[in-house]
Amino acid sequence: MTQTFNPDLDLSISRLIKAPRAAVWNAWADKASFEQWWIPAPALCKVVAMEIRPGGAFETQMSENGGEFGPHLSACFLAADDQERIVFTNALTGGWRPAEQPFMTAIITFKDHPQGTEYLAHVMHKSPEDRKMHDELGFFDGWGTVIEQLAKLVERRH
């Protein structure tokens, strides 16, 4: 299947990782490894479910400061080709159950490269309604508001 790229809604990140494809895949598919990179430190990540098969649940939780773990990502795998491709969306949860707040679909591909592995993340976001929400929140209204909104973004990030 070919994916079209919509520059307003999608982002694509490719990276040449100088390691065999199996090693990169394992960093994804192994829960303990995944927890180490999915969320930036000092926040902690806990993988609640990672059933890498179509329809399998994919759920992570986050603890901001070593305290209680709260929801982070609740998604469903759509495709899983061993060491080649992982597709997941948070439009669904495990077992293809519709989710409450759909937002994105991500396609992760792993390809052999003479120097290692070509890792590609193609992330597609929901229609501009989310952006409209940003607009309604005043994201673009005047610098003062922009800065307030940015501050919120920053605080959410850390």
Binding site: A19, A23, A27, Q36, W38, H134, G144, V146
Partner: protein
């Protein structure tokens, strides 16, 4: 892309402080001198200058000295980078990929060292 990511890191770091956000808010109304900007804050001038320098390094403001007065101006083009809704998501995925890469490389190195130790024996 790594540059883009570290630039965003710089921007977010610059914004992650109430004093600096207040300074940006004030500059949103127009350029101002450092002494005017510093006035509302109960802070020694050298401490305040650190905030100004960090903002300048992030590219969010520029400063210009005329005689004995240094004036700060908001660098509006810089905000475009942050205003973009996708930028936040991109920054998250860039940083995530950085961490994935680092983890994989660290594991590879560990395995290589282990192999060396075993064959060295």
């Amino acid at each position: 892309m790594e540059n883009y990511s570290s630039e965003l890191d710089g921007l977010f770091q610059a914004l992650a402080d109430p004093t600096r956000r207040a300074v940006l808010g004030r500059l949103g109304q127009g350029s101002a001198s450092i002494s005017d900007l510093a006035e509302p804050f109960d802070m020694a001038l050298p401490s305040f200058m650190k905030h100004v320098r960090l903002l300048e390094e992030s590219g969010l403001i520029r400063t210009q000295k005329q005689g004995r007065v240094r004036t700060c101006t908001l660098e509006k083009a810089r905000f475009a980078m942050l205003e973009n809704w996708l930028s936040e998501q991109r920054a998250i995925w860039e940083a995530r990929t950085d961490r994935l890469e680092q983890l994989v490389l660290a594991k590879q190195e560990f395995l290589r060292d282990q192999q060396k130790r075993e064959t060295g024996r």
